[in-house]
Subunit: 396 residues, 2 copies
Amino acid sequence: MAGPLSGVRVLDLTRYLAGAYTTMILGDLGAEIIKIENPDGGDFSRQVGPFVEQTSTYFLSVNRDKKSVSVNLKNPDGRALILDLVEKVDIVVENFRPGTVARLGIGYDQARKRNESIIYASCSGFGQTGPYSKKPAFDMLIQGMAGTISITGEPDQPPVRVGFSIGDIGAALFLSTGILSALHKRHQTGCGEWVEIGMLDAQVALLENAFSRYLNTGEIPKPEGRRHPVATPMQVIETRDGYMCLAIGTDEQWQGFCHAAGQSGWATDARFRTNAERTQRRDKLEEMLREVTQTRDTNDWITLLESRQIPVGPVHTVDQVVDDPQIRARNMIVDVEDSKAGHLRVVNTPLRFSDSEVGPSRASPDLGEHTEDVLREILGRTDDEIANLVASGAIG
Amino acid sequence: MAGPLSGVRVLDLTRYLAGAYTTMILGDLGAEIIKIENPDGGDFSRQVGPFVEQTSTYFLSVNRDKKSVSVNLKNPDGRALILDLVEKVDIVVENFRPGTVARLGIGYDQARKRNESIIYASCSGFGQTGPYSKKPAFDMLIQGMAGTISITGEPDQPPVRVGFSIGDIGAALFLSTGILSALHKRHQTGCGEWVEIGMLDAQVALLENAFSRYLNTGEIPKPEGRRHPVATPMQVIETRDGYMCLAIGTDEQWQGFCHAAGQSGWATDARFRTNAERTQRRDKLEEMLREVTQTRDTNDWITLLESRQIPVGPVHTVDQVVDDPQIRARNMIVDVEDSKAGHLRVVNTPLRFSDSEVGPSRASPDLGEHTEDVLREILGRTDDEIANLVASGAIG
């Protein structure tokens, strides 16, 4: 079985994370990803550790399964190759700073002249328009500028960053939906189009509930630390040997918890009867809870509460997640073979299909590993032509 | 101009956030979303505040633009209506607990018998298979079980939750890409299929870099508080009147920062020359930096550093984001008209297309607002038939 995007060909001009994650999503779904890299070192993220042998595990994790073609975009013959490839692909994805691809002669308008049905996708920090469009962006800035940091961390403490690059990845996920929606439209109309996204806008879209609360009530969301803003007790709490997540969403679950915890008096305590009352008095409630939750180990709490249908779970570290029976059963960690480092492990796509096979099968490519194959097989270049391109510095 | 998914019809059996966000994404891209709700109160999230008049802004934010059809799934005539609708739509999305839709007679196998090209999408906490598949899930549990909480917060402090529902929303974004990839495949083959996702798996996929580091080096990622794990200084830091995000990714930017800050001595200090050295000594470096960054207001730092191409930004609260010139220029906050509450504001889709119009245009529907229209126009039911369905309790 092949992936649902089998037969779809993507010209990948991206670097760093947001762009690379976009084409990884498409690749995991079966698309052929032709990643263009600078012959002089390739994607910057190849230099980011940690390394196994000489393989960057950072580069690997989001570039598995791609083909690497090293083309010098500063060379006119190199740029001409890009436009030749535009004729042979369905989708172009790029995340240069706005204006760069047009200046290089490989922007949407130039690509469309060569392929009217091309779907051209651009990801940038702030989008192609607006006063910040030319500013550089990093995940850290996006998290700060979108409000993410302002609602994460302990109340009245310095703010903290979300511990993974949601600024990049959120944009990548949205852009993938945009690309695939344009692909549907192309099936209907025969025409492609340009779809673009800014990381800042994507991050704001992820914070929908925080913005909805503010926009319609004026209340400015604040960091809530370990707690959910409107349900109580839905939070991380101490146990004898660590922490657990309690996720009590209904009054029935609250009463069930009280009885399970041997605190039947709480179940009828008028101060804590409804979620609204528990939320209003949550400082006091948390203090009372903690005294009880600290009397048992996390695993004992989970066994006890699950037997009574009270939603509860551990606070797992990454190594514990990898060993979790559900993660194993879902085949979420898969092996890929790397030419230098041998056996490496990457995170699988979370999508499962009844009639398609998805997920990574190869490791990340060596820089330029597929240059000759792509030029020969997709562009029909001869050995002599390829040798000339190498001699002129157009390809690496 | 219409959206790229204009003409695509979605039968939306979802409740809560993960499912509702999935169909919101499709709706923002132009698909017609027919949301089925229990006549007895509708989607649970209609009861979640804050409210403006009687409209839940929580429900609004992810259910704008949908049609509401109230059908009682406990009633056999109600379930028959669902299967009749399956014949008239392209996509079904549901997020009941695994096994529920099959038991109701409206699962994938039953749907496929009525419409071979149906794309059927299921979202659940842990996926349709594996030992946890029947467990209930909440965003809080998913963040805990996937490792998200273990890498967010201050080092050596109790862990904190990411301040928005990334457990739900991450699954929704991935599922949307899965649905649209199946739509592409259907254009090629004429056949639909079942695509499913677990929130836990999706969350793990978002933490790709943390997992890649652990899987291939054995290092267990820990919370880094305000800092980026491998680049320094890329972090939140105090200013005279608050905080700013510094995002210094290269040694050149570090030197530029030192000169801008009037600390030319730092630029040549051998202890901090390379990123690796700065990261190794980051406790000391942060202490030195803070003494200097606290001497100016955030806005002054931003003006100064931006003039020298040093990546820097504010730590905005949600209200400041809404007023940001870039967010305004990108039209990220849009008005919708609500029947009861009047003018309400929601977050726009972050996607922009050259030849398609996207984003919300109406508010969320009243419960059952479109029941009669859909039955009459899509299913061709007569007034008498509709009256009988009301009388039997099949529709609300």
